[in-house]
Structures are given as C-alpha cells and as structure tokens.
Symmetry: C2
Subunit: 284 residues, 2 copies
C-alpha cells in the first residue's frame, strides 16, 4: 500500500465486523483514499505491477509443487455494480494463466439435484491460482431468500453450511476474500438507463433486472443477514462502496494485494543442480 | 490492420501453404512489418483495443443466444518460444470473461485410457468465446513421434484423425487458428541460460528441456510433417518467427483480428421492448 494515497488499509476498514450495518455504508463514498478519480486510476496502474508480481510468485510455487495456497475472490452485488469491471480491470491485469474464473448463473437441473454447495466445490481454485467467483453460493441465500426459492428453514440451514464449508476451504490453504460491491439504487438506475440508451449495451440488459430492482430493500436485508451470519475470521466479508467504479477497483486490488502479501509467496528454489544444467546446456 | 506498418496481412503470408518448408522460415526475421521493436510495441497496444472490441461483440452475441461462432487459438512451439507471452500480452488484453484457456500437459492415466482427442474435445471453446490451447493434440504427433510414444502406424492414423476432427470442429462454428512459434536453436539456448541465471526464473526451467533440445532436428522434422498433413483450409497453420517476442505477439494479434473480422460479430439487437423497459425503469 502506498501510504501517500491511503490513510489506512482497505483490508482493515472495509471489513465487516461486529455490529456492521449495511445502511451506514455510503455507496457514493471513497473512504480512506486521499485522491480523486485521476489519482485513483494512476494508482490502479501502478499497483497492478505489485499484484502481478505477487500472483506470479504464487503461481511459480504451484508449478514447483511447493504452493499450498490459493486465493478465492467471491464477488457479489446487485446488477450493474461492476463485477465485470473488477474481473476485467483488476484481475485482468495479472497473468491469465494463473486465474480461474467461475461465473455462476441460475443453477442447471443437474445442479439442482445436488446440494447448493456441490457446484461451488468443483470450481475452487487449485493451489497457486487466484480463483474468482462471479456470483457464488451466496445467491442461494440472497435470491434464494428474497424469492423464497427454498423454505425458510433451508435458508437458515445454509448459513451454517456456508460457514462450515468455508472453514474447510480455508483450512485447505485457500484464502477467501468476499466482496460485496455496494451501489446505490440511484446509481443503478442511471446505469440501467445507459444500457437502454446504447445499442452496444442492450445485450447487458435483462428485463428481469427491473424485477429484482423492485425488491431492493429485501435484497439489502438479505445482504445484512449474510454479513451477520457468514463473516468469519477465515472468510471475511468486505463491503466496497461502488458508485465510483475507479474506487471499487482500487479497493479490491488492495484487498487482493493484502491477502497475497500475507501469504508472502517466494520464488521456489531450483530442484536441479544449476552448475550441472549450465554445463549440459553449454554442451548443446 | 494499419497499412502504414504492415506491407501485407500476416494471415496471408505466414500461412502454411503447399510446398512450405520450415527450414526456409527465418526465426530471426520480422516479415511484413515495417517498423522496429518500439513501433511494434506501440502497434500492439493500439491494436489491443481493436481486438478487445471484436471480442466483446463476439461474446455479446453468445450472451444473447445469437452467437454461433467461437475462435480457437492453438499454440505449439519448442520450449521458451513464448507461448506464455502470447497468452499474457495478446489474449490477456481482452476481457478474461470471454476467454477459455486450456494448458495440456503430459496426459494423465485417465486421459491415456481414451483416444488422444478425448481430452481436447472437452476443452473446445463455447460459442462466443476465444479458446486458447497451450499445447494441444499436436503433442501426440510431435513428442509422440520423436519419442516414439506410439507405434508408427498409430502416429500415421493420428494425422488423419486430426484433420477429420478439426473439420467437424470448424463445421460447428469454431474458427481454428493454429500457430507454431518458431524460434531458433540459438535463441532457445540464450533463453534457457537466462532461466539458469535468474532465481526468479528457476521455476520455469526443467532439466528435461535439454533432453528435448538435443532432438531439435527431429522435432523440426515432426513439425514439417504436421504442416504437410494437417494444414487445411478449415484449420490452417501459421508459422510465426519468434526470436523477436514483440514481433510474434504482434503477428498473432493480427491473426486473431483477421479471423474475428471475418466472423464480423455484430451487437445483438434488443430482445425486449426498449420503450416499455424505459418506462418500467422510470417508474422505479
């Protein structure tokens, strides 16, 4: 973290702790960052190199069979909040060979025959990789709850199942970073209007987005319940103000850097005799 | 293609045609490009936007259920030739959500129980995606031939099986671009030496690379056979000089742009009533 632009670490002050209230988080704010959009964009570019370097070390360890760690970024948000932009402009800056993306849509008939965690388990990142979940098992306690797609007792059961699941995942070496991109209803309205105004954006618009929008408050309640029930030391939630795309990208970038710095991956040592190999090469 | 920097389209003059001889292709050359490394790097950045735009249109069509097309880039090369750099610096510039990477290593026991095309079939890109094969079914007629991992008759059979397979793949709407990154033995020696000199590169070095290097001429013969037997109108091979990384990246970028321009993906139309949706949104 460059101390001249951040007054504190986003991994500290964006973290959901005891007593967190979503309604007290302002989507239009840019907490902790001392600069404007231009400064933010400069910082994003500069910090991409740091993230890339850490990612390459993580990946190198996996190729050498040394890495035990992986990172899993879980992205949840209301429509238009900018999940795609995070994938493109934050994760997209590191080597794609070390990234595993999984976009979870409405479950297929086969997926519905299994427990809701079945399809998620299969897409966990391998050691050395940064996995990204674009939506996730949290849909099953968000849309699942708002749309009553399962009985209330089943929704209740899922919170506990998620906590157990994530604890096992974390114990296996996968560092979990859960992010809710938090936009305001007004900002969403503007972004949806833009999609209806631009022919190159029509494909991103779905009439169902309005149906979900009409249940905004219920979704916020469902998110609040998610934070209270599933933000754990092993798998904390971060609520990232997202009305300003540049800020959200920068904050998520710092969250990833922080977790990778904590893993502190090292270049693996040579598992061969360097001098012998130099001689073999010279002889060719 | 910017006509001021290219004297002709790489998709034309790098294509393997009748009578092609690999030994007549100079790995150190930069055919068709009028500039130097700096001009090449500028051009790569400028053309990334064009490639990104085409990729987004291709992807948009798939989300709207309209896309029939996908692109498959097959990358083959001797070690150190720069496959990873192509993935990182050419493909890595487009939205990762529209890319499917598949790196093929030595086959697993399960894979060996099936026909050699089984594992490849499973990783073909979905409509709307750019798929990248980092190594491929061609390993089975390259290392397979040089190392005699299968009887000569089986290697012979595979050329025909590949042509049939790729014809079916192409008929399904997947445009296949097969690239051999062509480096010289001298350049490989320098790059391997660098890996032995830098602790942050050790992880990329494998003593087995020297064993393969010692069979350089046999590999070149195996590539020549591949070109003669499997370069078809539906799935042409391109031999890209790769001693200059900047040139190889630029050339592969143009190959991808050419195939996407040929597909000419359009933004899908709205499958909803725009005015109705505007009113619904306004009422929220």
């Amino acid at each position: 973290m460059s101390n001249h632009v951040w007054s504190a670490r986003p991994s500290d002050f964006l973290r959901v702790g005891d007593g967190f209230r979503l309604e007290e988080s302002d989507p239009d704010s840019t907490p902790g960052f001392r600069g404007d959009k231009r400064a933010g964009e400069r910082e994003l570019a500069a910090r991409s190199d740091v993230l890339s370097d850490l990612q390459e070390r993580l990946f190198a360890g996996s190729r050498a069979g040394e890495a035990k760690h992986a990172v899993l970024l879980v992205l949840q948000a209301m429509d238009t909040a900018g999940k795609g932009g995070i994938v493109r402009h934050v994760v997209g800056e590191v080597d794609p060979q070390g990234v595993e993306l999984a976009a979870f849509k409405a479950p297929t008939p086969e997926e519905l025959e299994h427990d809701f965690l079945w399809r998620v388990q299969k897409r966990l990142p391998q050691p050395g990789f940064i996995g990204v979940f674009d939506r996730s098992h949290y849909e099953d306690v968000l849309v699942g709850r708002v749309r009553q797609l399962a009985p209330a007792e089943e929704i209740e059961r899922r919170y506990g199942a998620i906590v157990d699941f994530e604890r096992r995942v974390a114990a296996s070496g996968i560092r979990i970073v859960k992010v809710m991109l938090h936009i305001s209803s007004d900002e969403q309205k503007e972004r949806l209007a833009e999609r209806l105004d631009r022919p190159d954006k029509y494909w991103k618009y779905n009439p169902g987005d309005i149906d979900e929008r009409l249940r905004w408050d219920e979704y916020m309640d469902a998110y609040q319940a998610v934070f209270e029930r599933t933000s754990t030391p092993e798998a904390p939630w971060y609520v990232v103000p997202a009305d300003h795309k540049w800020y959200a990208r920068l904050a998520v970038q710092e969250l990833l850097i922080a977790v990778l710095e904590d893993i502190d991956p090292q270049w693996p040592g040579a598992d061969f005799d360097i001098q012998v190999e130099k001689m073999r090469l010279a002889a060719t």
